[in-house]
């Protein structure tokens, strides 16, 4: 799951295609993903993993790194 998320985020959001990100890179708080993009991420998670994450769970505090995202996704 982590691999797929890394790939999606790199393709979809990162301006610099060579940029390295890992499961602990802060994505929202460092500005790689903005509020418009969160909607896109939410849709991807629903389509790819079949999990609908409610918007209140997707915040800069709880959904910032891929590690955090996977933890939350597994709860649904």
């Amino acid at each position: 799951m982590e691999e797929k998320l890394i790939e999606f985020i790199r393709d979809e959001f990162l301006e610099d295609a060579e940029q390295e990100i890992d499961v602990d890179t802060k994505l929202i708080s460092s500005g790689y993903i903005d509020s418009f993009s969160l909607v896109s991420l939410q849709s991807y998670i629903e389509e790819e993993f079949g999990k609908k994450i409610p918007a209140p769970r997707i915040t800069a505090q709880s959904f910032d790194t891929i590690r955090q995202m996977v933890e939350i996704i597994k709860q649904f």
Binding site: F13, L14, E15, S30, G31, Y32, F36, S37, V39, S40
Partner: protein, 414 residues
């Protein structure tokens, strides 16, 4: 009491947060008119600083041009101070329609409609012209006013990576089923001064049956062979369906904006655009001032020539001196310093040396992409630019920021 102490404290905390994070904006009071040299009263009120202005949108130097002020005086005498009405009730003068027709002809479109600002123009477009089954696909770095305008619309929204045509194509495919698609971009982007690939954008718009929207605020009046804008520069005059721009930059710098484009779209904005229906008509001074600005753009080639010369000189000199400058072809010249603290210290020192320029850091620009954004004007003369350059070089040496690579600047401790 509606505004209790608790409320007050709560807001004060928010304000303190802004100061603590170094994002506090303070306004200095300029006591001269706008120009390449401005006078600022120092905090204590005791002395006056004269500064070289390297951060205004006054690209053609028209903000205090005698021909413009003369036109404004004439407007006051012949058409009064204000209309005190929205356009459709009793707020339309002959000069409004004159300006709309003149702009439409200048920009190469079918019709044009005036707004109090380009911010308002951008607020009107998407909400009025699109519905929930449509899709807005915008470049990631479009102006804040466009982002707000898109928020008002019921249409779906997606984005493409900055100027990435492959990514845009992917999005156009993804949303192919939508009855109306709009590709949305700035002509010249305000933070980097880079230019949108309008030729490719127009081609994709054609291929995918999408409309093309361009906000050309940082280009109208001086980009392209006759100053019509980015679309002229990129050879796509007549292919932009919706073009918004401001009168608050090169065209005099007062206020006002417009949407120019396909006649049905413009007419629908006139009938249903909320910022048009519910906001005061553009004052006669602004209307005739903008007409005078267009006269100057069309008749006085020296303005644009001087701007182009200044742009080239400023950009080349900074690069030769050892600064990292975002490459481009516009009067927006960002000097990359990457670290916010360095950029802020640099700007502060520049002010002390008599140069006004602004540091931009997160969240205005991405993390570790802090810069000093300078803007060149036709009103600058070579002497001013040389003085400004000398200050930049002096401070660059002082702060050990000259002749470094991006990695070196990021690694240094400030």
């Amino acid at each position: 009491m509606a505004y209790s102490d608790k409320q007050r404290n709560n807001y004060q905390e928010i304000l303190s947060g802004i100061v603590d994070s170094g994002l506090n904006k303070e306004e200095q009071q300029i006591i001269s008119s706008q120009g390449s040299m401005i006078k600022v009263r120092k905090g204590s009120g005791k002395s006056i600083d004269s500064l070289i202005n390297m951060c205004s949108n006054n690209y053609l130097g028209l903000a205090s041009h005698p021909q413009i002020t003369q036109a404004a005086h004439h407007a006051l005498d012949s058409r009064g101070y204000g209309l005190a009405s929205v356009r459709f009730i009793c707020g339309t003068q002959d000069i409004h329609r004159q300006l709309e027709e003149r702009l439409s002809s200048f920009l190469g479109t079918e019709d044009c409609i005036l707004f109090s600002s380009c911010f308002d123009a951008n607020a009107a477009v998407f909400e009025t012209l699109l519905d929930e089954s449509d899709i807005m696909i915008s470049d990631r770095l479009v102006h804040a006013s466009i982002i707000d305008g898109m928020r008002l619309s019921k249409a779906g929204h997606d984005t493409y990576k900055h100027k990435d045509m492959k990514h845009l194509r992917k999005k156009l495919e993804l949303h192919g089923h939508c009855p109306r698609k709009v590709i949305i971009t700035d002509g010249v982007f305000s933070m980097d001064g880079d230019i949108a690939p309008l030729e490719e954008l127009a081609s994709l718009a054609e291929e995918y049956d999408a409309m093309l929207f361009v906000d050309d605020s940082h280009a109208t009046g001086f980009m392209g062979a006759s100053g019509r804008g980015t679309h002229e520069l990129c050879g796509v005059l007549g292919k932009v369906d919706l073009l918004t721009t401001t009168f608050g930059k090169a065209l005099g710098g007062a206020s006002g904006g417009c949407v120019a484009g396909r006649s049905e779209l413009v007419e629908l904005l006139r009938q249903r655009g909320r910022p048009y229906l519910f906001s005061n008509s553009l004052a006669p001074m602004m209307t005739m001032g903008t007409l005078a600005a267009l006269d100057l753009v069309e008749q006085d080639q020296s303005l644009r020539q001087r701007l182009l010369q200044n742009m080239q000189w400023w950009r080349d000199s900074l690069v030769d001196a050892g600064f990292i400058v975002v490459p481009g072809n516009s009067p927006i010249v960002p000097i990359m310093l990457y670290q916010a603290k360095l950029a802020q210290a640099f700007a502060h020192r520049l002010y002390e040396e008599g140069i006004l320029a602004v540091a931009f850091s997160f969240p205005v620009v991405p993390q570790n992409q802090a810069r000093i954004r300078t803007q060149v004007s036709a009103a600058h003369d070579l002497e001013m630019l040389q003085e400004a350059l000398a200050a930049f070089v002096r401070i660059g040496k002082e702060l050990d920021a000259l002749g470094k690579t991006k990695a070196e600047l990021l690694a240094q401790k400030y």
